[in-house]
């Protein structure tokens, strides 16, 4: 830390929503030239705290000091002018589609009230280049359309724009949630550089390994209260403990369940669209299999082929001795193949519908006679899943948006575990899911996987090591290796997934 006086102090911040106290006496301070992370289980009050220091709630209690002076934020504008810059989780919300790279970089100049009526291309380009320099983005083609660059480049542009305002505090909300591991590493390098230049960074992430790696200090919010500040060196276990208290002991691993009698799903020389590598996999009932690989390794394509979204180029899919060919998703479901897709907001959640309606969506035929729904049976099923999976909600009739991200994910997992199935595929099931919900989902999968199987797809080794019985590694469409989770060698797996 370069200075001993904090540049921003938040003291005894509290906030109530109706009858619930979302935040109670939480205090953190931020220093120049450090990366400070805030962690907390979903619903702990993390986002409420961040929204308060960004000025979204005017009716908070407590004090915020900037450079020792008391300030009162009435609107996001106030926080913005006080030097607090936020880079939101959604990259798409931070850029303007249909504009060029330069225009996105110099956006403030274009929309400023002082801007001249006539569009000044030259000065915009000049300004854009200045901003780009800060983040080493000069090599980008300034004239190209923003849609033609990668996600992480877009994100860099958003960060560069925020930095151009010379912020006192730069807040990064889940910045790694939609970029690859390699891009994340690049982002961290940039953050270190900024930190060393004296920028104060507030980092918010669900990935505790990242938090451990890059933070100078870690602030914890637990159940809306101050949960302490951890200093480096800090371990992931410590952070987890501060966030949710002690967790139950490790899962039991099922090591030896392979036997031809239990064979559930077999892929024979299966060639997936867009690849020429034949895939051979055997999955046995009662096991949880992980499929590990980077973005672009072909995992999602394989999952979509199993779920009837894509047609295989050649090869066979055999479920319980029966060769199956799925023309569509409906047929896959009929054969007991269920899938929790990645990115729940886009692919799974039906907003403004109840938890119950979200759970029963694929199985309305089962819950209806001649098309008329039996709400009684639906409610019974929904209540059972809410109880079994520990979904925190006001009731089965609550809107799904009223739940925290982790609980929303539980609802989506519940949707596909509701009915009897042979195999359930989970594609990146823990994206944006807090550690407590992740545990709940994992435990439920462990308990409920007896006669069926689970194929869990992820690009995060730790997520898979946590729950699976064995892990398959996929790289460029090929299955490169397999390890039992109980004897897992992370370095070897890492080498396999990144192997060129």
């Amino acid at each position: 830390m370069k200075s001993s006086k904090p540049i921003i102090e938040a003291k005894n911040i509290s906030k109530t929503f109706g009858a619930t106290k979302a935040l109670k006496d939480v205090s953190f301070d931020f220093y120049e030239g450090e990366i400070f992370s805030i962690v907390g289980a979903n619903g702990a009050g993390k986002s409420t705290f961040i929204k308060i220091i960004c000025g979204y709630y005017a009716d908070y209690e407590g004090e915020i000091y900037i450079d020792g002076k008391l300030v009162k934020f009435e609107s996001p504008r106030d926080a913005y002018e006080a030097g607090i810059q936020v880079v939101h989780q959604s990259i798409e919300q931070g850029i303007v589609q249909n504009m060029s790279v330069a225009e996105n970089l110099a956006l403030d100049m274009i929309v400023s009230p002082e801007a001249r009526f006539i569009y000044e291309k030259k000065s915009i380009l000049k300004r854009a280049k200045e901003i780009a320099k800060k983040m080493n983005l000069e090599h980008l083609d300034m004239e190209q359309n923003i849609q033609d660059i990668t996600q992480s480049q877009k994100q860099m542009i958003i960060i560069a724009r925020a930095l151009a305002k010379k912020p006192k505090l730069l807040i990064l909300d889940e910045p790694t949630s939609s970029i690859s591991d390699r891009e994340a590493t690049m982002l961290f390098e940039t953050l270190y550089k900024l930190r060393d230049e004296g920028v104060s960074i507030l980092f918010v992430s669900h990935y505790l390994a990242e938090v451990k790696k890059i933070s100078n200090r870690v602030g914890v919010i637990k159940d809306g209260k101050f949960g302490g500040v951890l200093h480096q060196p800090v371990e992931v276990q410590q952070i987890v403990k501060a966030m949710v208290g002690d967790l139950e002991s490790e899962f039991e691993r099922k090591d030896e369940i392979k036997s031809e009698k239990n064979l559930l799903l077999e892929l024979k020389e299966l060639v997936v669209e867009g690849s020429s590598e034949p895939i051979n996999i055997k999955i046995y009932s009662g096991e949880i299999v992980g499929l590990l690989g980077l973005i672009g390794a072909g995992k999602t394509e394989l999952a979509e082929t199993l779920f009837g979204i894509r047609k295989p180029v050649s090869g066979e899919i055999i479920i319980k001795d029966e060769r199956v060919v799925f023309k569509n998703i409906h047929q896959a479901i009929k054969h007991g193949v269920h899938m929790v897709p990645e990115n729940r907001a886009v692919n799974a959640i039906v907003p403004e519908e109840s938890i119950k309606d979200n759970i029963t969506l694929p199985f309305l035929d089962f819950f209806s006679k001649m098309g008329v729904l039996s709400k009684k049976n639906e409610i019974k099923a929904a209540k059972r899943m809410i109880g079994d999976m520990g979904i925190k909600c006001e009731g089965y009739d609550a809107y799904i948006e009223s739940l925290s991200g982790g609980n929303q994910q539980k609802v989506i997992v519940a949707r596909w575990l509701l009915m009897k199935h042979n195999i359930v595929i989970l594609d990146e099931p823990f994206q944006g899911v807090d550690i407590k919900s992740r545990r709940d989902i994992s435990l439920y999968l462990q308990e409920s996987t007896k006669k069926s199987a689970v194929l869990m797809i992820s690009s995060d080794i730790d997520e898979l090591v946590d729950v699976t019985d064995r892990i398959l590694v996929m790289n460029k469409g090929k299955i490169l290796g397999e390890e039992k989770t109980s004897q897992v060698d992370r370095d070897k797996l890492l080498a396999l997934i990144t192997q060129e």
Binding site: I333, E352, E353, L361, P362, V372
Partner: protein, 327 residues
């Protein structure tokens, strides 16, 4: 405070409606007469039926701009069949419904298969139908005794049974169109609220991709929504033809906007914020009642559209403005 806002969102509209019902009756006692009640209902049946149709497409987050012109072309086709071709009224009904189904199917295919945005596809269809309805009668209204192209006079006439659909009354009191409207409303309310088809239509409007990934043939449901919309519009057209008893080329004017306004006002009923059958019915009845009451209090007719607009904007504020928005 939040409690009051929630209460206002949920019941505000119905309270306003009940209030104006009381108010009109106190100021003008004949407003409360049975005959006036039925005259209000009869006045809104055509628009109400169309509002029920457009509800289906609104539910799937689509839109059907061709409902008014579909009803209008059905007026022309039934008149043409009975008056010019001198055929049985059953053919008029069958042909109208067949036409409605076809228009809906074409709309659905244009939107789902040709991937034309719903507003544009149905706008195009609206134009097409408006033009098409003029062709058989060379741009003239159809009525018994009209001059045909070959110089002869049209000899057919509207069948009594057909006219009964629009002008008849059950027990000499309840107009037949009102009964048709009520039956249709009940069936549609039931389908949307209590069947899996209704559930899936709403879910498609919420997140189409999620429904697709739940194994549902979304395309078929979307096409069906437009077919239903077209079919219901043709029913409205048949009732309209039966009511006016001639093939009036101008009969479709204003139907579309009034129906859409009714369905949108319906979002505010009980604060559901979604297109819904009950809301659409209540919405058109509210407008009908308001105009009827104000006319009794000698409001000039040319202010009617203005009143409808004010009601629509207020209802939209109830629905969207009062709820807390994100960021």
């Amino acid at each position: 405070m939040e409690k009051y806002v929630a209460f206002a969102i949920k019941y505000g509209f119905l309270i306003v409606m009940a209030g104006s019902f009381l108010g009109f009756g106190l100021l003008e006692p004949s407003f409360w007469s049975w005959s006036n009640m039925f005259s209000i209902l009869l006045g809104v049946t055509i628009v109400g039926i169309l509002a029920l149709g457009v509800t289906f497409t609104l539910i799937i987050d689509g839109f059907d701009l061709s409902i008014g012109s579909t009803a209008a072309i059905c007026v022309m086709i039934s008149s043409y069949v009975m008056v010019v071709l001198d055929m049985n009224y059953m053919y008029a009904i069958l042909l109208s419904i067949l036409l409605g189904v076809t228009i809906g199917l074409v709309n659905g295919l244009l939107i789902v298969k040709a991937k034309i945005p719903d507003l544009l596809a149905t706008l195009g269809m609206m134009f097409l139908i408006q033009g098409l309805q003029l062709i058989p009668s060379a741009g003239m209204s159809i009525g018994t005794g009209m001059m045909l192209a070959d110089g002869s006079e049209a000899e057919g006439e509207f069948a009594k049974e057909f006219l009964f659909l629009g002008q008849g009354r059950l027990f000499g009191m309840i107009p037949i169109p009102v009964i048709a409207f009520a039956l249709l409303a009940i069936v549609i309310y039931f389908v949307l609220q209590y069947t899996k088809w209704g559930r899936i239509l709403y879910a498609i409007g919420g997140n189409e991709k999620a429904v697709k990934l739940a194994g549902v043939n979304v395309e078929r449901y979307k096409i069906a929504a437009y077919v239903i919309s077209g079919t219901i519009s043709s029913i409205a057209g048949i009732l309209l033809a039966a009511r006016i008893g001639r093939g009036d080329v101008t009969s479709g004017g204003g139907l579309l906007l009034d129906a859409v306004a009714g369905a949108l006002i319906g979002y505010a009923v009980l604060g559901v914020k979604k297109p819904n059958a009950l809301g659409s019915v209540v919405g058109v009845i509210f407008i009908g009642m308001l105009l009827n009451g104000l006319t009794m209090l000698s409001l000039p007719y040319y202010t009617q559209d203005f009143i409808k607009g004010v009601v629509l904007v207020c209802a939209l504020i109830f629905t969207f403005g009062l709820s807390k928005s994100e960021i």
